[in-house]
C-alpha cells in the first residue's frame, strides 16, 4: 500500500514514488498534484495503479498521472505511460474502454446576451437533434462497407459525405484521422455494435453543453484560438460508443494469452499487453486507431447536428448563427510520437488514459495557424461547473510527453452519488442558477452530480502552476444536454 510518506517531492506540484519502492517497478511513478489532491488520490487504489503502470515492459522515464487521477482498471484514470517503440508494449488498459473519448469545442460569433431569450429553444433543439441516452440509435445508419470507410478515414469520411468542413479537420487532433487504422482488425461484433450508433451522444458522463466564455486569462492566445469574452460556445463530450468498448474487450481478452506467450509478468490482468511490434500488438493498434476514427466521425456528425440546431432556432433572429471549430481532443488513446528522453529523440508509444495531448509551440501535428501558439486543450468540468480551454506548452513536451489532465475526476462512486443526490432536485438547482437542463434519465443525472467530482478548477490550477498547460479561458454553462 502506498502512503504519503512514500512520495518524494520533486517540485511545487510534482510528487514521485521512487523506483526502489517496489521490486517490479522499471521506472519511478510521478504524480502531478497539489497536497490536497495527493491526499484525495490516496483514498482509492489509483496510486497503486500508477505504481503498477511503472512495471510495464519498455516503459521509459516515469509512469505519470495527472491531478484528476482516480481509480480505473489497469491504468489509473489520468494516467500517462510511454513505452519504447517498437519493442516496448502496448496495453489496451492504457487507453481505456471508451477509445477516443474526447471533447470538441465549437464557437459562435454570438455574445450570450444575443441568445438569452432563445436558450430554452436551442436546448430543446439540441436534445431533439442529437440522439442521446441508453440504447440510442444512430442518426446515420451505415452499411458494412460505409462503416469500414468510417473506421479507416474518420472525419475525412464525414467531409466526403457532407457532414464536415475542411477547417473542422484542420482543428482536430490527428486532423480527424488516425494513421494506421485497419477495419480488418476490428471484430465483427465490434462493427455490429458500431453500425447503428454513429452520430449518438451516449449516456453516463457524456454530454453537450452550451457555455459562455466567462473569463479570459490569456487574451493573445484566446484571440488566436477564436475566443472572446461572453462568447457562446458548445462542448461535445463523447467517444466511440459500443464499438470502442468491444474493441477493448476483444483485445484485453486476446492479450490474456499474449501475456503468457511473451512471458510478461504483470501485477494486474487489466494491464494485459503485448510488444508493440508483435502481431497481437499491431492488431490492437490498428483496431484502436479504427475505433478512434469512429469517435472522430461521431463527434463530427454531432457537430453537424449542433450547427443544424443553431440554424433551426436562430435563423432570421440573429445576424450570424454559424459555428466554427476551436479544436477536438482525444483523452483515451495511444499514439506513436517522438519525444526527447535523456537528450535523445526517441520513438514512443504514448498511452493517455483520461489525459489529453498538450503539444507546445512548434510541435509537429499542429494546424498551420496555431503552430507558433500551441495546441488548444479542452478540459470539461463536471455538470454545472466551469470548463477550461488551456494551451499546450514546451514544458509539457519536456516533462510529460506532451500531456496534461482531462477533466475533474470522480471522488464518489455512482452508487454513492445516486444515494446522496436526487436527479430531479439537482435539475431544479441547476435551473435555479439559470442553467437549462434536458436529460433523459434523472438517475443518470444524479450519478453525474458535481459533488461526485473533484473541483476542476483545483485540477487545472495544478497543471497551470506546473507549467504543462496554461489557462486561456474559463467557460461557464448555460445549458446541459445529457442522455
Amino acid at each position: 500500500m502506498v502512503t504519503k510518506q512514500d512520495f518524494e517531492r520533486i517540485s511545487d506540484c510534482v510528487y514521485q514514488v521512487p523506483q526502489k519502492f517496489r521490486g517490479d517497478m522499471r521506472v519511478p511513478a510521478r504524480l502531478y498534484a497539489s497536497n490536497e489532491l495527493l491526499e484525495d488520490a490516496l483514498q482509492d487504489d489509483s496510486v497503486k495503479q500508477l505504481v503498477n503502470t511503472a512495471t510495464l515492459p519498455g516503459v521509459v522515464q516515469y509512469a505519470l498521472a495527472m491531478p484528476d487521477i482516480h481509480q480505473g482498471y489497469g491504468f489509473p484514470i489520468g494516467g500517462v505511460a510511454a513505452t519504447r517503440a517498437p519493442d516496448g508494449v502496448i496495453s489496451p488498459g492504457g487507453v481505456g474502454y471508451d477509445i477516443n473519448c474526447g471533447v470538441r469545442l465549437l464557437a459562435s460569433h454570438l455574445h450570450k446576451d444575443e441568445i438569452a431569450s432563445h436558450l430554452r429553444d436551442l436546448t430543446n433543439a439540441l436534445y431533439k437533434n442529437c440522439p442521446s441516452g441508453v440504447g440510442s440509435e444512430g442518426s446515420v445508419p451505415l452499411t458494412a462497407k460505409q462503416l469500414e470507410e468510417v473506421l479507416e478515414r474518420g472525419s475525412e469520411w464525414a467531409l466526403k459525405n457532407g457532414y464536415a468542413r475542411r477547417e473542422d479537420l484542420d482543428r482536430t487532433e490527428e486532423f480527424g484521422c488516425m494513421p494506421g487504422a485497419a477495419a480488418s482488425a476490428v471484430s465483427a461484433r465490434a462493427r455490429e455494435r458500431g453500425r447503428e450508433q454513429l452520430g449518438t451522444l451516449g449516456a453516463g458522463n457524456h454530454f453537450l453543453e452550451i457555455d459562455h466564455v466567462a473569463e479570459v486569462y490569456d487574451a493573445r492566445t484566446a484571440e488566436a484560438f477564436g475566443l472572446f469574452p461572453g462568447q457562446i460556445v458548445v462542448q461535445i463530450h463523447c467517444g466511440s460508443r459500443g464499438l470502442g468498448h468491444q474493441v477493448c474487450t476483444d483485445y484485453v481478452n486476446e492479450f490474456q494469452r499474449a501475456v503468457r506467450h511473451y512471458k510478461i509478468e504483470l501485477p494486474d490482468r487489466e494491464l494485459a499487453c503485448a510488444p508493440f511490434d508483435s502481431p497481437e500488438g499491431q492488431a490492437y493498434f490498428k483496431a484502436m486507431a479504427a475505433a478512434a476514427n469512429f469517435a472522430f466521425a461521431n463527434r463530427q456528425i454531432l457537430a453537424y447536428h449542433v450547427r443544424r440546431s443553431f440554424e433551426e432556432v436562430l435563423a432570421g433572429k440573429v445576424k450570424n448563427f454559424d459555428l466554427f471549430q476551436i479544436y477536438d481532443v482525444a483523452h483515451n488513446i495511444a499514439k506513436i510520437e517522438e519525444h526527447e528522453v535523456e537528450g535523445r529523440r526517441v520513438k514512443l508509444c504514448v498511452h493517455r488514459k483520461g489525459a489529453t495531448r498538450a503539444f507546445g509551440p512548434g510541435a509537429a501535428g499542429l494546424p498551420a495557424d496555431l503552430r507558433t501558439i500551441g495546441q488548444p486543450v479542452l478540459i470539461p468540468g463536471s455538470m454545472g461547473t466551469a470548463s477550461y480551454v488551456l494551451v499546450g506548452t514546451a514544458r509539457a513536451m519536456a516533462e510529460t510527453f506532451g500531456s496534461t489532465c482531462h477533466g475533474a475526476g470522480r471522488v464518489f462512486s455512482r452508487a454513492k452519488s445516486k444515494k446522496s443526490v436526487r436527479g430531479e432536485v439537482l435539475r431544479q438547482e441547476l435551473e435555479a442558477r439559470g442553467i437549462v437542463v434536458r436529460a433523459g434519465s434523472m438517475s443518470g443525472l444524479a450519478e453525474e452530480a458535481p459533488q461526485a467530482y473533484k473541483d476542476v478548477s483545483r485540477v487545472v490550477d495544478v497543471v497551470h502552476r506546473a507549467g504543462i498547460s496554461r489557462k486561456v479561458v474559463r467557460l461557464e454553462p448555460l445549458a446541459v444536454i445529457k442522455g
Binding site: 482509492d44 482516480h70 482498471y73 440504447g135 468498448h245 474487450t249 490474456q256 487489466e270
Partner: protein, 143 residues
C-alpha cells in the same frame, strides 16, 4: 440440468467503486456463482422485462484460459446478446463448467426498460474465491 438457486443465499451485493460499478456475486458452487453473476448484471442495469414477453433460449459456448477469464467472457457474451437481441437473461442453465470451458442455455426475455447499459466487464480486482458458505467473486464493470 437446471441451476438451482438456494433461496437463503444472497445472490449478489453492490460495492462502491469510484469511476464505474462493482458487485460481489455469491454461489453455493461455481455454477451457481456464474448464474448469480449473470443475474446481477441485469439487476444492476435496472432491466425490466416486457409484461407479456416469453422466453427465447440461447445456447452459449465459451472457452478461456482460467475460471476468471471464463467468468469475464461469459458475462461479456450475455451483454453482447443483450445488445443484439434486446433481451435480458436473468435465468440460465449451466450444463458444463470447467476451468476452461462453459456451456449454458440462457433464457432471454425482451426488456422494455434499462436504467443503464453495462458496456464492458473488466478483470479489475477479479478474484474467484472459495468461502465457508460456498464461492464469491468481485466483478467491476464499465458503464
Amino acid at each position: 440440468m437446471s441451476t438451482i438457486i438456494a433461496s437463503t443465499m444472497k445472490r449478489f451485493e453492490e460495492i462502491p467503486h469510484t469511476a464505474d460499478w462493482s458487485f460481489r456475486a455469491f454461489g453455493k458452487d461455481l455454477r451457481e456463482l456464474f448464474a448469480n453473476a449473470a443475474y446481477a448484471l441485469f439487476e444492476l442495469e435496472g432491466a425490466r422485462a416486457r409484461p407479456t414477453a416469453h422466453e427465447t433460449a440461447r445456447d452459449i459456448h465459451i472457452t478461456a484460459l482460467d475460471y476468471e477469464a471464463l467468468l469475464v467472457n461469459w458475462l461479456t457474451e450475455l451483454l453482447w446478446l443483450q445488445e443484439v437481441h434486446r433481451e435480458m437473461y436473468p435465468r440460465c442453465d449451466i450444463s458444463t463448467l470447467t476451468p476452461t470451458e462453459l456451456r449454458a442455455r440462457a433464457f432471454g426475455v425482451p426488456f422494455q426498460h434499462l436504467d443503464k447499459i453495462i458496456k464492458a466487464v473488466t478483470y479489475h480486482n477479479l478474484v474467484i474465491q472459495q468461502t465457508t458458505e460456498g464461492w464469491q467473486a468481485v466483478i467491476v464493470v464499465d458503464v
